[in-house]
């Protein structure tokens, strides 16, 4: 997590996004240099995943909290944005109802449920993108860290959390579109989404926010706070006898990380055009962890690298050899944990900055 690696990463992310956007806009479709719109959106999607990965690395790499439910925060941010985009459709839906989204008309709902109020205002929606994942993380983390639930126990209940949300969002009665989720978006901030220039703008916005996320995360982990955090990760009870309250530290990064994941989800939705309950699947959260492990846990930059590489692989495999993708992903999990504990960034290092050895059963020490 050296300063140089961060700089290189920032330059690549921002520069890459700018070049793609520029080539998409400035070259004719026939040109060899032309970057098609779908590639722009794909790149934007990868960067959203990278935001999720950095969020996971912040809690896992530096606080030792292996969250198997971080995709839930990502999805909640996505839903908050999706609700705004739904309201933007206005009368252009299939049923032409100015207030109710199509799925509500279809379900014979007469009025907008109260929790949809306000989502027609962009500022409110943005606030919700930050608040919903943040508050959930605050409540969940406060309960968990205060009672010193840690290690695999925390992993298991984070997984249960996202599983419960998955089940909940599948219900039509919840008012979030059930199985189909939210889709058919038309504009964002009154700009039509289908335009190439909108996609370029979204890619650039994602790159800028990812860069900001990286810088914030880097500040957190290199500050004295971050040193305490690493101390908590490695010997929590020792920090307590030094007078620190590990629960406050963990809670702070957990909430921060959830908000970051939520922002990633909010940028993801307009770029892929849909959000549905499948995003809550526990498998998604675990996949995000492997991105981090591939790139190098506890390096932040590695999380970006891992997210982009693994998802490039996924795009490639699912298009050409779909049956092999799960084998490849499974093998990746095994090989990285067994052979590459420092991840790709750990390869060049003298001593991998892997997680220290902890005792096997560590119930809520």
């Amino acid at each position: 997590m050296s300063g140089r690696a961060t700089m290189v990463c920032l330059v690549l992310v921002l520069g890459g996004a700018a070049v793609m956007a520029a080539l998409n806009l400035a070259t004719p479709a026939a040109s060899a240099l032309h970057v098609p719109a779908y590639a722009v959106s794909l790149a934007g999607k990868y960067l959203c995943y990278a935001m999720l990965a950095v969020a996971v690395d912040l809690v896992w790499g530096f606080a030792g909290i292996l969250s198997l439910g971080h995709a839930a925060f990502f999805a909640l941010g996505g839903y908050a944005m999706g609700m705004y985009l739904m309201r933007q459709i206005g009368t252009r839906g299939v049923y032409g109802n100015a207030v109710l989204p199509d799925f509500m008309v279809f379900l014979n709902w007469k009025s907008l449920p109260w929790y949809w109020y306000g989502f027609d205002h962009p500022a409110f929606a943005v606030a919700m993108v930050l608040l919903v994942p943040g508050v959930l993380a605050l409540v969940f983390g406060w309960l968990a860290f205060r009672s010193r639930v840690g290690g695999v126990y925390l992993s298991i209940i984070t997984q249960a959390l996202t599983y419960a949300l998955l089940l909940a969002f599948f219900r039509n009665d919840m008012g979030f579109g059930g199985n189909n989720g939210l889709t058919d978006f038309k504009d964002m901030f009154s700009i039509p989404l289908h335009l190439d220039s909108t996609r370029d703008g979204l890619l650039l916005a994602t790159a800028v926010l990812l860069a900001a996320e990286l810088l914030v995360a880097r500040h957190v982990v290199t500050s004295r706070f971050g040193k305490v955090l690493i101390a908590v990760r490695d010997s929590e009870s020792r920090t307590r006898f030094l007078g620190y309250r590990p629960e406050s530290y963990k809670l702070f990064v957990f909430v921060l990380s959830a908000v970051m994941a939520g922002v990633g989800g909010a940028l993801y939705v307009p770029q892929v055009g849909i959000i549905n309950p499948g995003e809550f699947a526990p498998a998604n959260s675990i996949e995000a962890v492997i991105w981090v492990a591939v790139g190098g846990r506890g390096t932040l930059v590695g999380a970006v690298l891992g997210a982009v590489l693994v998802n490039l692989g996924k795009t490639f495999f699912t298009a050409t050899l779909p049956d092999l993708w799960l084998f490849a992903l499974g093998a990746l999990f095994i090989l990285v944990t067994l052979l590459l504990p420092g991840g790709l960034l750990g390869l060049g290092r003298r001593r991998p900055r892997a997680a220290p050895v902890t005792q096997a059963p560590e119930p809520a020490e």
Partner: protein
């Protein structure tokens, strides 16, 4: 003795684990500025006593009064640490990925809240204090090394250094010389005496030579209660102590 001189007062503390009494109505008084050695066979409850004082274990009955009238049994570990009670564990635990310097920096007395540490910059005053401690614990040449790379004895010292950095009123030191060479043991005894000039200390130790070298009042624990108390010569002569601990 009067309450004013008393720093720590354990009053009838009992701790049971699944019916097993690790501490059995233990009472103990430590005076301000005193250094006390606690000895006793394995399983006597010495570590458990420290767990109770530092808030790690809650006693079933009994009180632990610190200073004038603070009941420690109502507080948790960070709160007790903030009151000025430092603890060194039996197994040396330093923050291995951090440098020796950073270990001391984290231990320095100061604001422990996230909103402070998030923005804290190292001050010149902090730097001089760390340098002073490094000199005391003889690790000045190793300040930039990873703590995980230190030798066993150096880790023990670093831990003592971290205790000093906390500026506690009372230090609890669990088996500080276990695994040390004779020379290191002697240096450690000297270090503890030096510390004792300004602070109260409770040392748990098995090494009788070390305890003798400290030359302080000794409490012998046995089966969770005080078996004998007094000078080293006094307790060594106590037939009950000889029976359960010293000689068979």
């Amino acid at each position: 003795m009067t309450t004013r001189d008393t720093l720590l007062y354990l009053d009838g503390v009992t701790v049971t684990f699944d019916g097993f009494r690790a501490l059995n109505a233990l009472s103990l008084v430590l005076e301000q500025g005193e250094m006390r050695a606690v000895i006793g066979p394995n399983g006597a409850g010495k570590t458990t006593m420290m767990d109770v004082i530092t808030g790690r274990t809650r006693p079933d009955t009994g009180r632990v009064v610190f200073g004038r009238d603070t009941d420690l049994t109502r507080l948790d570990e960070p709160a007790i640490a903030a009151l000025g009670i430092g603890r060194k564990f039996q197994k040396p635990t330093v923050f291995e990925p951090h440098t020796v310097w950073d270990n001391l920096l984290l231990a320095l007395a100061g604001d422990r809240r996230p909103r402070f540490t998030l923005w804290a910059r190292q001050s010149a005053e902090e730097r001089t204090r760390i340098e002073a401690i490094l000199a005391t614990i003889r690790l000045a040449d190793h300040a930039r090394r990873r703590a995980g790379d230190l030798s066993h004895g150096q880790k023990q010292w670093l831990e003592i250094g971290m205790l000093l950095a906390q500026e506690p009123q009372l230090l609890l030191v669990d088996e500080p010389v276990a695994g040390m060479t004779d020379a290191e043991t002697e240096q450690t005894a000297e270090l503890l005496r030096e510390i004792n000039r300004s602070r109260s200390v409770v040392v748990v130790e098995h090494d009788m030579a070390f305890v003798r070298a400290l030359g302080v009042r000794v409490t012998v624990l046995h089966e969770g209660a005080v078996l004998s108390e007094g000078s080293i010569d006094h307790v060594s002569a106590d037939p009950r102590v000889v029976e359960v601990y010293l000689g068979r």
